[in-house]
Symmetry: C2
Subunit: 219 residues, 2 copies
DNA sequence: TTTTATTTTTAGACTAATCAAAATTTATTT
DNA sequence: AAATAAATTTTGATTAGTCTAAAAATAAAA
């Protein structure tokens, strides 16, 4: 049985290696966990002892198949709880991360499978991130940062690449959420801003930052 | 912010002092937590330091008003989560205790108030135990152990005084649950057993143990 | 009221997770 | 290739929670 802390380290390593699949350094882990490099080293040795990571002194780590599976299930639990909080309890998408961070450590496979059923087997969480299956498979779909889209295109918002409360609240104020339709009316190359029509209702100028962080697909 | 462990001690002291409101001994706590008397002493000193209990060496403890409030809120959370697991996720009443034991430590007042609303402001949990309000009030109602009832009485099951899986499963097999109606057909004084008619469907002989642990009221 | 038994506390030690500071290894410059 | 910088590990210590064994206080019995 893994501790809360061990689980958090596995999830952290998972998130850091997810995209590149390269080994991740001690310092990189220390930076995101907010703990010291010394603490990270200690924990990596412990996780290596349990064969959850492949660790070599001074060379960083990556997850073993078992470690990856555990981390994936933590992500599954986190995202399913987020769906529950938003869909059933009426939380907004900027309020659920911290609570789900605690709930993901509840140890019951039956609970999470029942929850999955109860929620209608959702494939994506309230931020548009894919929910892995019990066997660890993520649904992949076509999506690009909105700044890659062209003038005149009609898009649907599928996700966000930033999860900060401030960013999510800002989108809320613009009535932009998962599923919102956007039509690109103007693309200003000098500052990378875009004028978009939101859900066929009102036009809005969006800055470069927003355009890069919104994940969309053409419809 | 209290630790998981500190919360568990508070809840334990609450349960031990709930009925009598007397001070509880170190050994009594050690017995139910399964930890050593030495560990209990250490923890009592820590809780006293935080003014959550009134502790005097060799004299046992009782909860301070603050300690009692925290313990009551833990009971509230535990019982609301049990309602959720049974009513929404389809767990049976013998499966929910251990999961709720973990869930009760999730730290979010908003979460528990939203959950309360979502569940329809239940006043009792799946075992018939009262759910304290956010301000700490328990609903009181008339109920007695079934062995106190007389022949010919029509009763409704309101609760149980034993929460073991074995006991709860046994009741399930007899189709006895919260809300079941029972008519006392015979009372055997020699062995304290009773013959009862269950939900006007079938008769069943219930042993002394069952009769003492079933909480009922006349209807 | 002494003696004995029980309960409780203290003392000393262990594990898990953490840190700062020192030592070591690897990477980068010169 | 040597010197310097950066990253990582080791060392030694701290805190929370736990334990056993010994000591102290209280309760019960003779």
């Amino acid at each position: 049985m893994l501790s809360f802390t061990e689980e958090n380290y596995l999830k952290c390593i998972f998130k850091l290696t997810e995209k590149t699949n390269h080994r991740v350094s001690t310092n990189a882990i220390a930076k995101v966990t907010g703990s010291s490099a010394a603490s990270v080293t200690d924990m990596l040795k412990k996780l290596a002892e349990k064969e959850l990571v492949d660790y070599a002194r001074y060379k960083g780590v990556h997850l073993s198949p078992t470690g990856r599976h555990i981390a994936t299930q933590l992500v599954r639990k986190h995202r399913l709880w987020e769906v529950f909080l938003v869909d059933k309890l009426g939380f907004s998408w900027d309020e659920v991360h911290d609570i789900a961070e605690e709930l993901e450590h509840i140890k019951s496979d039956l609970l999470i499978e029942r929850m999955d059923q109860f929620l209608g087997l959702p494939k994506f969480d309230p931020h548009g991130d894919p929910i892995p299956t019990a066997s660890g498979k993520f649904t992949i779909r076509q999506q690009v940062p909105m700044n890659k889209a062209s003038q005149g295109q009609r898009l649907v918002v599928l996700g966000v690449q930033e999860h900060s409360k401030a960013f999510l609240r800002y989108l809320d104020n613009l009535s932009i959420h998962i599923g919102t339709q956007l039509v690109i009316q103007e693309k200003n190359s000098f500052d990378q801003s875009m004028k978009v029509l939101i859900d066929d209702k009102h036009s809005q100028l969006l800055g470069e930052h927003i355009c890069k962080k919104l994940l969309v697909n053409e419809i």
